[in-house]
Symmetry: C2
Subunit: 406 residues, 2 copies
DNA sequence: GGAAGTAAGTTCAATCTGTTTACTTATTCG
DNA sequence: CGAATAAGTAAACAGATTGAACTTACTTCC
């Protein structure tokens, strides 16, 4: 037999059925209120197939029936919605300065949040603390009568495609950590999907996946915080993430923006992070790592030095966004991370630069929408929860209901 | 009914059968010489299913049986190969200085080539000439007794996801051209798959798709010629290309490498193309657009000015490759385009820079393989042919054989 | 040389899936 | 109120994969 080669996807009748159940579920998720007839035309299935599939999804607690639609000359259809009261998803983010927890309904609605200041420490200690927090978290009343579909954890570092091991997280000082294996002993009773991902990639995924109606073809999330990273999600079918072999895709902080510029902690010169990042701003303005950057900076926004530093950082961000536009060409760019709270002194130069230069290659025809999230505290954690939902819907057998449902 | 939303993929039994036929065909394609039993374990299908599917692929002329395998204690398996004598693929490239034609067997083997000098002219004139060339080309004896699966055309410009219209090709001076519609009247008898794509993306696809054995997870093709562009192909299942909404993904020529640098023809300053591209080298060294760059430069390789220019361009290319490594993180980088013929004076600085800086973020553990193609004349055209094959195998019903076959 | 063992490939009834066709239900329009 | 229209359901049908039994073909061992 010849050497190793990848599996090709093939399937049996069971696979086909699960595929169709997933497709129906995704259709309802993306367009709440569709009827069985709508689904049949959308998904290219017959009414009969859709009918039986929907019935089984109703029994499993994934869907619920809604109001009768307006009739257009015949029997009115029955609206279908995700059953937001039966399952929930857990998302967490391990950040440099704290742990963040989120519980989401399948629609993406946030049910519970928790933001716990927590210092950088070892993987084991962090896993123990996060496990304890999650255990308490799941006892909150709004989650008591729901079933968990799984747990997703977002981390500030590079994760290879298999998603099992965190290769490097320079800002945490970690490398080669199998974080989910460390977490599991602390949550022995938890079942369902377990996964981890880079924080910017998780955020990108969530921003694309938890959206109804017309979804953009692709979405780039740029996370500007202590470091700077990005994630690209593509939404043709189920959202896919561009990861790169070593999980390095989107490590835009270390692209060279200024040949021969300042030395970066990575050893190269002129990296984007030397111009725009939490640590470079701190270094320039002499702000200690332990202090909150925004709090220390807010009273100093009149100082010429601060204004100048923020403007230069903003312009560099604009240039970075333009380069990303040209290399990735996403349909939509979302800017988040703690630095967005620095306000217009930082953001305006970035937006202005990007606006002024983005259409040079294509004329004025189309522009890319660029959205800034002011408070992105829970965006990555919610994105990790979104990944759990996607995995539950697509990759594995749909779980049976255990809590009573209609 | 709620607003527009995308189709979700669902399917019937026919879809499942085609999926399995495709999976089997891909398995044989990637690992020539597999037996039915190998396929069954690889593709997770039963021997019975594989047996009938293989029989139908043999009848259709896609596969042929080979020698008996060595026995390992039982009945030996019968090797299966792609039938390279039944179908062929046509690929063409419209370049700034000429038209290139390729005919490939399903294995990727090049059957015929043709390189025709052709000046930049209007889309209509080009389509007429290409059509005539293709017609003559298909009458060559090696193609006489084969069936064509379709035609793919590679072009130096941006093409949006639907692939139907060439948005902009600055080096040709074209914009918003439906090239395949212009070509069709000149080849009325041609059937099968018709497609066009950007030349770097087509090349990336071909380099990944026409490979047997262990294929890299992703491959980035960088095309350095008159302009500079790139294409990223990912090979988890069928190779997918990163295109971007406006087809701008991979337009690396216009990423800013040197803030405040020279003005680029796109209107911005310090674009990569101002440092490394056919036109910037011509401008710096005063070489006319109509002359062949390599021919004019070869006798001048001793001049300090030439040496300096090529070294600077090479260094910029190295920096660009590093930035691509960080934003895309492909498993393999392939460097092609006419500038690779400039030799070590240009290439060495690029490779040296890339080698020296690539592992700063991940330690010395893994390195990305970087391969240079010296003669990339037919790479893009062959890539377009590869796309035709992929489309024929995956997207549509497998055609019936018309020429007699075993 | 022959019998036993092992593995590849085939045959065919059984099972499971989506489809087709006919039917029931529920609303609008005249 | 009846005809028309459209949503949803039920039962027979068509088809693809499966599983078990079978045939084929080679190796190994006595």
């Amino acid at each position: 037999m010849p050497g190793s080669y990848q599996n090709q996807k093939a399937g049996d009748l069971n696979f086909l059925k699960r595929l169709n159940l997933s497709a129906i579920l995704e259709t309802v998720r993306r367009a709440p209120g569709v009827t069985r007839a709508d689904i049949a035309t959308q998904a290219q299935l017959t009414k009969a197939t859709v009918g039986t599939a929907v019935q089984s999804l109703l029994n499993q607690g994934w869907l619920k029936e809604g109001e009768l639609q307006k009739s257009s000359g015949g029997r009115p259809g029955r609206a279908l919605h995700l059953n937001d009261d039966h399952y929930y998803l857990l998302g967490a983010e391990v950040g440099v300065h704290g742990l963040r927890l989120v519980a989401c309904a399948p629609s993406g609605q946030v049910l519970e949040t928790q933001h716990e200041p927590f210092p950088c420490t070892t993987p084991d200690t962090t896993a123990a603390s996060l496990g304890e927090l999650l255990r308490q978290f799941t006892h909150r009343t709004s989650l008591q009568h729901r079933d968990s579909l799984g747990i997703g954890v977002a981390l500030p570092g590079t994760i290879a495609t298999d998603e099992a091991v965190l290769r490097r997280a320079p800002n945490l000082g970690w490398h080669d950590v199998r974080f989910m294996e460390l977490l599991r002993p602390h949550l022995p009773e938890a079942t369902g999907v377990w996964l981890m991902d880079n924080e910017a990639k998780a955020a990108a995924f969530g921003e694309l996946y938890f959206r109804t109606g017309a979804i953009p073809e692709s979405l780039l999330y740029v996370s500007a915080g202590t470091g700077i990273g990005s994630g690209l999600a593509e939404g043709r079918h189920l959202p896919l993430l561009t990861r790169g072999v070593q999980g390095l895709a989107g490590e835009i902080g270390h692209t060279v923006l200024q040949p021969g510029g300042l030395y970066c902690h990575c050893g190269n010169r002129g990296c984007a992070e030397t111009l725009v990042s939490g640590w470079s701003i701190r270094a320039t303005l002499g702000i200690d790592e332990k202090d909150d950057l925004i709090n220390r900076l807010t009273p100093r926004l009149q100082e010429p030095m601060v204004v100048h530093t923020l403007r230069r950082a903003g312009e560099a961000l604009g240039m970075l966004l333009l380069n990303l536009h040209h290399t990735q060409n996403p349909a939509e760019i979302v800017l988040g991370g703690s630095l967005t709270r620095l306000g217009p002194l930082f953001l305006d130069p970035a937006l202005t630069y990007f606006e002024a230069h983005q259409h040079r290659l294509l004329g004025t025809a189309q522009r890319v929408s660029l959205r800034v999230i002011e408070d992105s505290t829970f965006v990555a954690a919610r994105g990790a929860a979104a990944q759990v939902l996607a995995r539950a819907i697509h990759d594995q057998a749909l779980p049976q209901a255990t809590h009573g449902s209609s």
